[in-house]
């Protein structure tokens, strides 16, 4: 919270009030506990597939393709040893002629934070015809792959609750 809010809480009698320098978004993204109705809805990080197929830049594409399809995915996320996302290999590129994952991938894909509403991402994925989007922490580490079908399900459930 802001220094002003922290001082105000102390003036109201709360003890051990700290300023979290990185801010609220960073707190939520790190998966730390939250309260309040605005944060109660299903977030991308809640439904993203953490077991998505991943590979390294120099892996042979033929091995990546086999492993990815065996795991039931049609997209592989190219990461480094720290799980920082370098690129995506989507279905068409998986079946391409490239020798390595690094050659086949589309570098620097748009990523979203885990605290973003899954329903909001469902709309975006529909509008932009995206089958999935990678979910990463603020420092670019892979949390999981949000599939459009999962985001659509969350959006439908939210719609049913509200109507």
């Amino acid at each position: 919270m802001s220094p002003r809010a922290a001082w105000r809480l102390e003036s109201m009698g709360f003890g051990e009030v700290y300023e979290y320098a990185a801010g609220l978004q960073d707190w939520i993204t790190a998966g730390l506990p939250t309260e309040g109705t605005a944060l109660a809805e299903t977030r991308a990080g809640d439904v993203a597939r953490a077991d998505v197929s991943t590979c390294r830049l120099h892996e042979p594409l033929v091995e990546v393709r086999e492993r990815t399809r065996k795991a039931g995915f049609d997209t592989c996320v190219v990461v480094n040893d720290e799980r920082v996302v370098f690129g995506l290999i989507r279905s068409r590129d998986l079946d391409g002629e490239a020798a390595t994952a690094g050659e086949a991938m589309r570098p620097g894909p748009s990523t979203f934070r885990p605290n973003v509403s899954a329903a909001a991402l469902a709309r975006l994925m529909a509008d932009h015809d995206l089958p999935n989007v990678p979910i990463t922490t603020n420092d670019g580490r892979l949390v999981g792959l949000l599939l459009r079908e999962d985001a659509d399900r969350v959006a439908r459930e939210r719609h049913d609750r509200e109507h």
Binding site: Q25, F112, V116, A120, L121, L124, H128
Partner: protein, 52 residues
């Protein structure tokens, strides 16, 4: 004279190389990075230039 093929953000009309969401130059509904962050709630427009 050829027709303009430049991509512009559908929200703020900013000129773009590609859509910030799908990274396509021919996206029918392109959006810039700033408006994408607003749309997903990852960032909020500053209500006052002088801060809170």
């Amino acid at each position: 004279m050829t027709a303009s093929t430049e991509t512009r953000c559908a929200t703020c009309d900013r000129e773009l190389e590609v859509c910030a969401c799908c990274e396509r130059g021919d996206c029918p509904d392109p959006i810039c990075q700033r408006d994408l962050l607003y749309l997903t709630g990852e960032s909020i427009p500053a209500p006052h230039t002088h801060g809170g």
